[in-house]
């Protein structure tokens, strides 16, 4: 079969009439070449008043070819010519009718505002989104507290199994990676400390540094960042997917409160699991620090332990542990708020999951700063 062609049959009639003949295969494969033929044939100011397009020799026609023919006819008509289609094989007639029925009337795209206004608009929208976010977070905290007290009054309504399941996923399954990471952080901290403190002959103060830093700040921060990345994201994705598939609407119509059924168990689970992880994380970090102090710094374990006892108090430990549940609450709330804002598309799910992790980590660090000021002012 030959490729599609369009030839001008010249001299067939007088000067007022042009006749074109289309032949060959008018299908998608040849569409690009055919389009330029059609463009040439429909160029403005044709020296004619009537045009005829003979399609008898077309061997194969699909919607691409049919549209190109139709486009030629429309262009000719638009130029004030009298265009005529002749010899269309009746096999192609129904397809051609279908294509011909199309109006192609696409309304103009919305106008783009100029770039300065667009930038200002996007800044404004971002700012208002920040405030909206704060409002949504406050609303979620409120709803969770209300759900919590409702459940306290009717304990039988509490999804205990669901909470235990989430504790297992957030806490137990995260334990190996938390232990490994905090162990490494403790070890690195001790190594760096010894390396620099040795210059002043102050090796032994590494124990103070590791002890205080780990218990007050590092253990809880590392655990929270891990949990935000690991469990916060999965909360958002789970709730978002349920939102997409109308599961949350289904719950609502059956008279369940999604906050009570889905969100409260998740938030309680994370609030319970994070302090436990923080405790184990702190122990692992101290262990890692002690190990490096012994192997790299030559501080014997007994010396490390007795120095540690002098350096840290129960207060340092309490400061770290006090922060853990609040940070966990922030991670859980942010994750659930983001999850509930997922719209229909897969893209929106991905965007919300990213937002969830970024916002949770940011807020955890902000909260850590607030706690630092608070504990400093009460002298801890």
């Amino acid at each position: 079969m030959t490729a599609g062609t369009l030839t001008l049959l010249s001299g067939e009639s007088g000067r007022d009439h042009l006749a074109f003949a289309a032949a060959g295969v008018w299908t998608a494969e040849n569409a690009a070449a055919l389009e330029s033929l059609i463009d040439a044939a429909t160029r403005p100011n044709l020296p004619a008043r009537t045009v005829a397009l003979d399609t008898e020799k077309i061997e194969r026609l699909d919607s691409f070819g049919a549209w190109l023919i139709e486009r030629a006819l429309r262009t000719w008509n638009g130029q004030g010519l009298e265009a005529k289609l002749i010899g269309l094989n009746e096999n192609f007639q129904s397809l051609f009718d279908k294509v011909q029925a199309g109006t192609q009337q696409l309304s103009a795209p919305p106008k783009k505002p100029n770039s300065i206004i667009a930038t200002l608009e996007s800044v404004g929208r971002t700012m208002s989104a920040v405030f909206d976010d704060l409002v949504l977070l406050a609303q979620m905290v409120g709803s969770v507290i209300v759900a919590f007290f409702r459940v306290l009054r009717h304990p039988s309504r509490f999804r205990f199994t669901s909470m235990v399941n989430h504790i297992e996923r957030v806490g137990w399954h995260a334990l190996p990676i938390i232990l490994l990471i905090t162990l490494l952080i403790g070890a690195i901290l001790a190594q760096q400390g010894i390396f620099h403190f040795r210059k002043f002959g102050a090796d032994i103060y590494v124990v103070d540094m590791v002890g205080v830093l780990v218990l007050r700040e590092l253990a809880v921060l590392i655990v929270c960042i891990m949990v935000a990345g690991r469990s916060g994201s999965s909360y958002t994705a789970e709730i978002g997917a349920m939102k997409m598939r109308e599961e949350i609407d289904a719950l609502r119509t059956m008279g369940f409160d999604p906050i009570e059924v889905l969100i409260l168990p998740r938030i309680l689970a994370i609030v319970i699991a994070v302090p436990i992880l923080t405790l184990f994380g702190a122990l692992a970090a101290l262990y890692g620090g002690g190990l490096v102090a012994w192997l790299y710094g030559g501080i014997a374990p007994e010396v490390f332990m007795s120095r540690l006892r002098e350096a840290i108090s129960i207060e340092s430990f309490k400061v770290g542990m006090w922060k853990a549940p609040f940070m966990a609450l922030v991670i859980g709330i942010v994750a659930c708020v983001e999850g509930l804002q997922v719209k229909g598309s897969a893209e929106s799910l991905g965007e919300r999951t990213t937002n969830s992790v970024v916002k949770a980590i940011f807020l955890v660090i902000v909260l850590d700063g607030l706690f630092a000021m608070f504990f400093a002012s009460i002298g801890l």
């Binding site: 690009a32 389009e35 549209w67 486009r71 096999n91 192609f92 129904s94 009718d97 598309s345 893209e347």
Partner: protein, 258 residues
Amino acid sequence: MAKASEPVIQVKDVVVELNSNRILDGITLDVYRGEILGFVGASGAGKSVLTRTIVGLLPKQAGKIEVFGTNLDGLDEDERRNIERRWGILFQQGALFSSLTVGQNVEFPMLEYLDLSPRLMTEMAITKLEMVGLKPDVYRKYPSELSGGMIKRVALARALALDPEILFLDEPTSGLDPISAHEFDQLILTLQRASQMAIFMVTHDLDSLYATCDRIAVLLNGKIGVVGNIDVMLASEEPWLKSYFHGARARVGQQGKQ
């Protein structure tokens, strides 16, 4: 309309197991150029599984599938692309790309396989959308802004984007109102007459079976039970077929037909 010409799909003794459950137990079925083959069977009997196996989404344990006379096993990437370019698939839920607009969804296969000018591509996308009964303005919308029926139509427009020679339809009329479903059947007939396209249609819609199908294949217990036109189906003594074609809903459908 059925021509005893060349088969475009030949399925021979295909066995498919999912989680060690034997879903398809030796399926043999031919689909000829220019025919509409309806594929029916009970819910969960494996109708969609056969479709997915033919298009290569599920592995088969035994048997042979030939499309356009080419065995689909052991094709290299280019050969496979050449085959895939010549079929279109309408998934049950539409399977539109949610991050692309409707227009981009329809243009997606054209962009991949054809070298068209942007103008022609837009015009073709709109043509396809209008062919499936949508207004050109849906071109700029996102799938999440559409109703279920419209999603189906856009998905059909995407399946038709390259004017395929084989069209797989997985429950095409489910989710459409009866008027749209009827229009959809007519649309399929029109398209098929013009382009000699073979259509493999999994459906439960009796009206579609009456209105469009040249032949009907029935999946029973993992095998092709009966194949034939609608008269063969109506005459069959097979118990499942009897209740399928002579049940309460079927009678209403037939009356509507007469």
